[in-house]
Amino acid sequence: MLLIQCPYCAVERPELEFRYGGEAHIARPESPSELTDEQWADFLYMRSNPKGVMAERWRHVHGCGRFFNALRDTVSDRFLAVYKAGEPRPAIEVSAPAAPNKETGR
């Protein structure tokens, strides 16, 4: 179970207090009706789903209730940063530590 730092409560809490909110920084378009179907589908459904560092939303639902963002490495599950909603993605560009290649044993 992940241990997640809430930037509002300033404490680390177990994942059970949090609800995942999917990829971060996908702002709802200002005027949806002006978008083409493709653009709207992009907003609704297309996700980067990266293997490596990902900006994602969490909500401290059983804590302060706030949404915030985090950078997490989706291979190691390690958090690199947490930041409040509305703040820009921090410039930490940590390359994901190479996953041990279990398949080949090398």
């Binding site: 179970m1 177990p14 709207w40 609704l44 909500r59 209730g65 041990p100 044993g105």
Partner: protein, 1001 residues
């Protein structure tokens, strides 16, 4: 004769306390402090189980949790046995009843052993190649046969009455394993004031110290020091010592799961004690001090009862006071087996020979053995054993430049073996730590840590008691420093004895036997032989993962703890690739099997999930209501009277509501108070409806879509004031809706000044519906004018009832009748309910449940989200375009409604259905077709979403979603059922009072 193999003295057992137990129904005796294994051995019982596939007789191989052979079932009461327990871990208690497994009719004579004769056929992967013809035989003959033969013990059949507990814990330093390394770590860490948890899976702490009889620590005998060290730790309030507690899982972010076995070792446990307890520990730092595991030698017939690991033999002799045999041969590639031989010899055992694979073992050791009168052979390999259910003699071979010549037979009923030691890297690996191949030691060692953990002692490849203690102390101090920020020198502990064990061998040993006829076992429990591993490679299974899955090596209940390294080495040879290139299979939790009860802890019955009850629940239960589960809530479903079934009760309730008045508990509806200057604007964006112009004191039905344009929830919303709304949601949808609103509010429109508060449980809701509804409540209302002009349909007032009980009074209807909803404080709700009830009764009314509510609303064509809709339905589909604010620029889901498929022809639309014969009740979920007997795979036009006998319509009615439904009014369609199709007519989905006249009485 009892306990003939018991030594005269020594060991940690309590000779003053004999303990009676049964094995396969036979009564035997051991001593307090014995394990089942040591007690059986004391009684010279070696044959304890049968193997998985070939049903070969098997004995006791180890003295620990890695035991693959001696698995037994232990029964406390009929039907509640625990299968597959390791005899080496089962602590003896008075009356213990254990049974051998996987044999029929008896352990000594097992019919399944024919499989052993067929073993030339039953090689790795054989079942993939056969049992395919005739086809029908697979399910009827072959598979049942395979299944019956496989499996080990027998699953319990009676519900488990035992309790299981849970505990969350935090610590600075968690130490897994309380051998010398773990204890030294604990002492050092505790010295700094760190919070320490020290857990060991055994019944006693001490690890190797429990049988290191010759060693001294701090110039005392090892066991004396151990006692003092444990006393010191026990006296420290910041240290938690957990016995019989296995660290079984190492999860993300230093989350470690421990399983504590609390009562299985007790003859008569205190009923208040749980059987097992799950510890979920978040540790700042972890020290893994899990020791190492001795490795078997892979030689022909190495699985015979009587063949045992050398250190296990030593443990039985030193710790349990049991000699593993009358005449004991030792085969080894490692120094530690000499210590075993010498200790057993000292305990009165007879050592027939030490056969050492190595050409030049440590001279001092050889000399010591010979001085004790023990025959030592070097360059000598064991090539097999004779005896079927017990070793009778041991075959030796002489090793010369790789080839083997026979070197005679030694009479022995026990063979101790050692192929060296495998560091226990399981937890490190679970924590995602890498492993590093150490060619010199022939072992994988823990590499760099990924989480906050370190390995210490034998599991880190550190050897020799003094070095292990020093390593443990260092690890403890380091861990404590990192956890607490306080540095402290590690505890200095001097020790002598417990020397390092040098020497090892991996893989199958060479022999001079007929290769085609003999079998050397790699994975004992799953009967995987060296030949199987080679066959897998021959068939193209070149990945170690394929080899594992094709042969099942490492997949038994010991998870390859003893076998993986040998299998790997054999594969490496067959593949002609170095070991580290072949790689290891993945270590997974649990470290040892953990019972489902431990994982489920207290979760059962009403504690499985919260049972939410409304303040009216007790009253309803008192009236004999039936309840249904809706999300976590219990809702009154119907109120049967005098033996009514549901249909009769519902019919009566429906009729009563339409004729006079009904009382309904709507407390479970979700409620959200939306407050702030931008509240109306917020709701405008969240709901399809317009809100800006709704006046205070007015109600409006709101429809909520998800961003994909599909109906997500609905409910009535009241405006309490300019900046304050009382929102209601469906019972099940309440948490979802609040989360959805918070999401948009916080992340899309943070500029809006509006806040949400759940008030679901601030208000109990008493719905009073029917032509006499006003009469029923009027006498109770203090300060609200109920006249239609003052309080028209879809309006609300705040006031009081019954002399000062606050009430938000809504005039609204979900039945088509005039109705009110009294929102009152839950603490007073029962009072109010009963007062209303008294009036309702006087008026000839009734209480009704959710089923009647469903019928009444269906008669009016009101949808239920989740019943008429299923996540693929738009407002227009259910004829609710009217709920969409036409002038709105945007709301959640609006853009999606314009997508091609959502505006396409042929969408399913809400309609009513009447059966042609006027009597048949359609089944909800039934399909609707054009033809009475459609050709197979003809797509249905739609399905019945709701169907009830309608007392008001005097016939069954139904709602349905049908393609182009609104254009089909009057059309005749069919509902094909197994017994034949039912003819239906498509009608508008309103069956009662289409004009809504009844609302305004």
């Amino acid at each position: 004769m009892t306990q003939i193999r018991r030594t005269r003295s020594g060991g940690r057992i309590d000779r003053s306390q004999p303990v009676r137990f049964t094995f396969d129904g036979r009564e035997l005796t051991g001593f307090a402090g014995d394990t089942l294994a040591s007690a059986l051995l004391a009684n010279d019982e070696h044959l304890v189980g049968r193997s998985f596939k070939y049903h070969r007789p098997r004995g006791i191989l180890t003295a620990g949790s890695e035991e693959p052979n001696a698995l037994v079932g232990v029964t406390r009461s009929p039907g509640s046995g625990t299968p597959n327990l390791r005899a080496t871990q089962v602590e003896l208690h008075e009356g213990l009843s254990a049974r051998s497994q996987n044999r029929f009719p008896s352990l000594g004579f097992d019919i399944g052993a024919v499989n052993d004769l067929l073993s030339p056929l039953f090689v790795a992967g054989f079942y993939y190649k056969t049992f395919m013809w005739p086809k029908s035989f697979w399910n009827r003959v072959y598979e049942p046969f395979i299944r019956a033969a496989a499996g080990l013990g027998v699953a319990p059949t009676a519900p488990d009455r035992d309790r299981y507990a849970n505990r969350y814990a935090h610590c600075d330093v968690l130490i897994a394993g309380a051998g010398p390394a773990g204890i030294a770590a604990a002492l050092s860490a505790a010295e700094v004031g760190a919070r320490v948890i020290l857990a060991d899976e055994q019944a006693e702490m001490g690890g190797a110290l429990l049988h290191e009889t010759g060693a001294t620590v701090e110039r005392q005998p090892a066991d004396r020091w151990l006692e003092a060290a444990l006393a010191e730790l026990a006296a420290n309030p910041r240290v938690t010592l957990l016995l019989r507690t296995t660290a079984f899982g190492y999860f993300n972010h230093n989350y470690i799961a421990l399983g504590e076995r609390v009562t299985d070792h007790l003859a008569v446990p205190d009923p208040d004690l749980p059987r097992e307890r799950l510890w979920q520990v978040r540790a700042r730092q972890v020290v893994i001090a899990a020791g190492s595991i001795e490795r078997p030698l892979v030689f022909p017939e190495n699985d015979r009862p009587g063949v045992m690991l050398a250190e296990a033999g030593r443990i039985y002799a030193n710790r349990y006071g049991v000699l593993p045999g009358r005449s004991i041969a030792v085969a080894t590639a490692c120094d530690t087996a000499y210590r075993a031989a010498l200790d057993i010899h000292a305990a009165g055992g007879s050592i027939a020979v030490i056969a050492d694979l190595r050409e030049r073992p440590d001279e001092a050791l050889v000399a010591e053995a010979r001085a004790a009168g023990i025959r030592v052979e070097t360059s000598c390999v064991v090539t097999g054993v004779l005896g079927r259910k017990r070793v009778r003699s041991v075959l030796l071979g002489r090793l010369r430049s790789g080839s083997v010549t026979a070197a005679g037979t030694v009479n022995a009923d026990c063979l101790l073996m050692s192929g060296g030691w495998t560091p226990n890297v399981s937890l490190h690996s679970q924590s995602r730590g890498k492993l590093v191949w150490d060619a010199e030691r022939g072992a994988y060692l823990p590499g760099a840590a990924v989480q906050a953990e370190r390995s210490a002692g034998s599991c880190a490849g550190v050897d020799g008691l003094a070095a292990v203690l020093a390593d443990g102390a260092h690890a403890g101090a380091e861990a404590a420093r990192e956890a607490t920020g306080t540095a402290h020198a590690p505890r200095q502990i001097v020790a002598e004895g417990g020397e390092a064990g040098i020497g090892w061998v991996l893989g199958a040993l060479p022999h001079d036997r007929d290769a085609a006829r003999v079998r050397a076992f790699v994975d004992y429990q799953n009967d995987v032989t060296a030949k199987d591993v080679k066959l897998a490679v021959r068939e193209g299974m070149h990945s170690i993962e394929h080899i594992k899955r094709y042969t099942t090596t490492g997949m038994a209940t010991d998870q390859g703890r003893l076998s993986n390294m040998n299998a790997l080495s054999i594969a490496s040879t067959a593949l002609n690739r170095p070991v580290p290139e072949v790689g290891l299979t993945t270590f997974r939790q649990p470290y040892t099997p953990v019972s489902f009860g431990t994982l489920a802890t207290t979760s059962r019955g009403d504690l499985f999930d919260p049972v939410r009850k409304t303040p009216i629940h007790g009253w309803a239960a008192g009236q004999g209501a039936a309840f249904e589960d809706v999300s976590l809530w219990k809702r009154a479903w119907y109120f049967p009277r005098g033996g009514e079934d549901m249909h009769r009760a519902v019919e009566r309730e429906c009729r009563t509501v339409r004729e006079s008045v009904g009382l309904f508990d709507a407390s479970t509806l979700g409620k959200i108070e939306v407050v702030g200057p931008d509240a109306a604007e917020f709701l405008n964006r969240i709901y399809t409806n317009p809100w800006l112009k709704l006046g205070p004191g007015r109600l409006r039905y709101g429809l909520m879509l998800n961003e994909a344009g599909f109906i997500m929830d609905d409910g009535v919303v009241g405006r309490l004031a300019e900046d304050r709304f009382h929102v209601t949601t469906t019972t099940g949808g309440a948490p979802r809706v609040l989360a959805h609103m918070e999401d948009y509010l916080q992340t899309e429109w943070p500029d809006l000044k509006v806040w949400l508060t759940s008030t679901t449980e601030q208000w109990a809701v008493i719905a009073v519906q029917g032509p006499k509804a006003r009469e029923a409540i009027a006498p109770l209302v203090d300060d609200i004018d109920l006249a239609t002009e003052a309080l028209p349909h879809m309006s609300m007032r705040e006031g009081h009832v019954m002399g000062g009980i606050p009430c938000r009074l809504f005039r609204m209807s979900f039945t088509g009748e005039a109705g009110y909803e009294l929102n009152v404080p839950p603490s007073r709700a029962r009072e109010v309910w009963e007062a209303v009830w008294a009036n309702v009764e006087k008026l000839g009314g009734c209480a009704y449940g959710t089923e009647t509510m469903h019928v009444l609303r269906a008669e009016k064509g009101y949808i239920i989200v989740g019943q008429e809709t299923d996540g693929t339905v738009t407002p227009d589909d259910v004829g609710m375009s009217w709920a969409i604010g036409k002038k709105k620029r945007d709301f959640v889901g609006m853009r999606s409604l314009a997508r091609p498929d959502l505006v396409a022809e042929g969408r399913k639309q809400l309609v009513g259905l009447l059966t042609r014969d006027g009597t048949a009740l359609l089944e909800e979920g039934a399909q609707i077709t054009r033809e009475a007997v459609p050709a197979l795979k003809t797509p249905a036009l739609g399905h019945v979403t709701s169907s009830y006998v309608s007392p008001a319509a005097g016939r069954p009615i139904a709602l349905a979603m049908i393609a182009d439904g609104r254009a089909r009014m009057g059309e005749t369609l069919h509902v094909p059922m197994p017994e034949g199709a039912i003819t239906v007519e498509v009608v508008p989905p309103v069956f009662v009072d289409p004009e809504g006249a009844r609302l305004n009485v």
